[in-house]
């Protein structure tokens, strides 16, 4: 499936925006403006943007802490993202939750991220189940990590989704580490996608640093699910390019491994391809870069000027009253 040139350039711009927002988050953390922890999506831009691009407007996605790109593609603004990280009232969680946690918006088809991993998997299956019960041509897509794949919730979800032939797609972002734990201590198989056989569903490995390959594989899985043929397990291989969170210097990650993956940087690769095809000139690249920079500066100003919530607001909204 070849995407129109216009889409390719938009994908490129979203990848750049993802990285620019991520860099700004890193800076704000270092400036002491983000309290607690802060997670980075560096290196995951192709997976998050490519997968989100494959969804239709009525589909639903459950992104995690490495999937900033998916939030942005689905319509969460950089302003909302930075307000969330700064704990402001203007954030989607109004200061109740921090960083990408709790950054959800059902109007945009985004399920807010829950910290116990991978609780998003059964949740996503539930969304797919609603579509299945009502026989709507909609699909739900969940991300989870190589580490999260070891939890019982992952197994239960994949099995039930398979039995129901639920319209769901599960993308495991294998970024080589779960906190400090390397994949060889997480599971004793080479490809997590091989587990799909045990559930009787297709399993596909994809290069997670090739945005069009990710798009392609996810698009096929989404359309398969939409046709009522059931879920797919996709394993996107990539590398976590910063520590687990901002406090972690990742001393346990071999420098050579990082260096090798830096060569496969998903944005530089895609940019080179676009230039080779004559789709991206220097002028256009500059125009896009300055648009991205302006968006991030605007978001920073907005977030920093946004008020903190008042203490008493903590009491509001434990129960739904609408």
């Amino acid at each position: 499936m070849t995407l129109p040139n216009e889409d390719l350039l938009q994908i490129y711009e979203y990848m750049l925006l993802t990285r620019a927002v991520d860099d700004r988050i890193d800076l704000l953390f270092k400036q002491g403006k983000i309290e607690g922890v802060s997670f980075s999506s560096l290196g995951h831009e192709a997976i998050a943007v490519g997968a989100a691009w494959a969804l239709g407007p009525d589909d639903v996605v459950a992104p995690l802490h490495r999937d900033l790109g998916a939030y942005l593609v689905r319509g969460i603004t950089p302003r909302q993202v930075l307000a969330q990280f700064l704990g402001r009232r203007t954030a989607l969680s109004r200061g109740r939750d921090g960083n990408t946690h709790g950054m959800g918006d059902l109007n945009l088809g985004i399920l807010g991220y829950v910290s116990p991993l991978p609780d998003q998997l059964p949740l996503t299956l539930g969304a797919a189940m609603a579509f299945w019960v009502r026989q709507e041509p909609r699909v739900a897509l969940a991300f989870f990590g190589d580490g999260s794949s070891s939890e019982g919730a992952a197994h239960e979800t994949l099995n039930l989704a398979s039995v129901l032939k639920a319209p769901a797609v599960f993308i495991c972002e294998n970024n080589q580490f779960a906190y400090s734990t390397p994949t060889k201590k997480q599971f004793a198989i080479e490809n997590l996608a091989d587990r799909a056989a045990g559930y009787g569903i297709p399993g596909v490995v994809v290069d997670g640093n090739d945005v069009l390959a990710v798009y392609d594989v996810v698009h096929k899985a989404v359309e398969r699910a939409r046709r009522g043929e059931g879920p797919t397990l996709i394993e996107a291989k990539t590398m976590r390019m910063r520590g687990h969170a901002a406090h972690d210097d990742a001393f346990y990650v071999p420098q050579e491994l990082l260096a090798a993956w830096r060569e496969k940087d998903p944005i530089r690769r895609f940019e080179a391809a676009l230039r080779q095809q004559g789709l991206l000139s220097d002028e256009l690249a500059e125009e896009i870069a300055s648009r991205v920079a302006a968006a991030v500066d605007d978001a920073t100003t907005f977030a920093e000027k946004s008020p903190f919530p008042e203490g008493r607001e903590a009491l509001e909204g434990v129960f739904c009253d609408v």
Binding site: E35, G87, R88, S93, P116, S148, E151, F187, P309
Partner: protein
Amino acid sequence: MEVTYLEAIHQALEEEMHRDERVFLLGEDIGVYGGAFKVTQGLLETFGPRRVIDTPMCEIAIVGSAIGSAMMGMRPVAEIQFADFMACAFDQIVNVAGTSFYRWRAAVPIVIRAPSGGGVRAGPFHSQNPEAWFCHAPGLRVVVPATAYDAKGLLKSAIRDPNPVIFLENKYLYRRIKEDIPTDDYVVPFGQAAVRRKGSDLSLLAYGAMVHEALAAAEVLEQEGIDAEVLDLRTLVPLDEETVLASARKTGKVVITHEASRTAGFGAELAALIAERAFDYLDGPVLRVTAPDTPVPYSPPLEDFFRPDAAKIAEAARRLAAY
């Protein structure tokens, strides 16, 4: 030797592993990384990978396998990276660990250590205080140390105890408090509350990080002529009922504080105990200073509003003293 609360816990683990070769550790990121808070740093190097086991992410299997190994004569100490994620292993803790001895006399000498508590801007899933969940489940001991001395001595007791022990470390205290502790072996027995400050006008009952807030409140109250007694419960199951009742009977006025949310929190149990057995001595209502019934919010103004502190405790104490 002056050590932090965190170092005291580390020492207890290390010394118990030297003392008893049945003791081993398992959990996520505890070996090479030394634990999310570095409590187990260096233990992999000392004891090797069969006694310090880095597991995949799998709370159910961590707790369940700890239970099974205990039935085979081991003394496992499982770390759950954050107390909030004990919920993921709830079934193993409550249904398996808590009932096995009662049902078929299979003892379960395990310790589940987990960092709990807030005040560190960690949001709803890295700040919870789940002690009441486990106090309500029969068969589990629940330990909530407030000082470095106790953290070490209670953890040693926990490891030597023949029952499943939920050991809730308070992450706010990890590196914030320091004290001189003995270098020779000692234990702090379960079921003995400590009177941290003697007083005659009213009693402040606390545990974990709130002990320090209660002591700070007592200082302020003293300036105002109110003489507060501060009790540190140390263990909730077993509870030192006699020390609690003696203090309530002496002062006739009790303020209970905990970091966990209010409804059906451990404060309710304490209030019921005092109502049942010290009613005749009371000069005022038993008050609770707790977090409200909401998840733990992230943003600083929200969390500051949420979390009990010395000022909130002193305010309640003043109201009660005026009775």
